[in-house]
């Protein structure tokens, strides 16, 4: 299935891209992360930052969250607005 993955702020700069569209069989966010790292070994230290947050369909969630066709997944550092 196709999944759209978005990156924001410092993570977007570290990876050098704001988003990727990827074909995946991942059933959960953590499997998707693993696949992203396998396809882009240079991204490993950035995607393994313990403080990284993730959202599926614009809702904060943990990395055990299930994935479905057409989901929008986002990874980003802790938020600093206000």
């Amino acid at each position: 299935m196709m999944i759209r993955v978005l990156f924001f702020a410092s993570l977007k700069e570290q990876l050098g891209t704001p988003n990727v569209e990827m074909e995946t069989t991942a059933s959960r966010v953590d499997e998707l992360l693993q696949q992203l790292i396998e396809q882009n070994p240079r991204w490993k230290p950035h995607l393994q930052q313990g403080t990284l947050l993730c959202a599926v369909n614009q809702q904060l969630c943990d990395t055990e969250h299930p994935l479905a066709v057409g989901d929008e997944v986002a990874f980003f550092p802790p938020v600093t607005g206000g």
Binding site: A55, Q58, P77, P78, T80, G81
Partner: protein
């Protein structure tokens, strides 16, 4: 009368006076509390400005969700949340939170709650720009503690 929640993410500045006039329209509410956040000078670096990035779509959803939670805790009238994005200069306004309620205690508590959750849940990121360089602001542990206080009170 259904109380409205207004959420705006915008590059342009806002007028606290105009926002306040919107919040005080109904005689049903006897208290309006407003908070305005500004771009502050750094102690250890020459800050010249700031850049604010956000996650379009999720930001509005997150702020709507936080407002809904506030409405479950307190009896509130209109709520306004305005957050600026893009390039900002020192002393510029960044964020506005305004809450109307029948009584002051609810308006004070809800505005504090909204700011505490905005700072830890709404997907905004600040990049500070000094004369020499620019760098992403690190999240503060004190902001996490501020939000934990509300969870403990549930």
């Amino acid at each position: 009368m259904a109380a409205t929640t207004t959420i705006r993410i915008q590059e342009q500045d806002f007028s606290v006076a105009d926002n306040y006039e919107q919040l005080r329209r109904s005689a049903a509410y006897g208290a309006v509390v407003t908070f305005t956040g500004l771009v502050r000078e750094l102690v250890d670096a020459q800050l010249s400005g700031m850049f604010l990035e956000h996650y379009p779509g999720m930001t509005e959803k997150a702020l709507q969700g936080i407002s809904n939670e506030a409405r479950q805790r307190w009896q509130l009238g209109p709520i306004q949340i305005i957050h600026r994005i893009g390039h900002l200069q020192l002393n510029d306004q960044i964020v506005f939170v305004g809450v109307a309620a029948k009584h002051r205690a609810d308006a004070f508590a809800a505005s504090m709650f909204l700011m505490d959750f905005l700072k830890t849940r709404a997907p905004f990121w600040k990049k500070e720009v000094t004369k020499e360089a620019s760098y992403w602001v690190e999240a503060k542990e004190s902001d996490q503690h501020a939000v934990q206080r509300w969870n403990d009170q549930k």
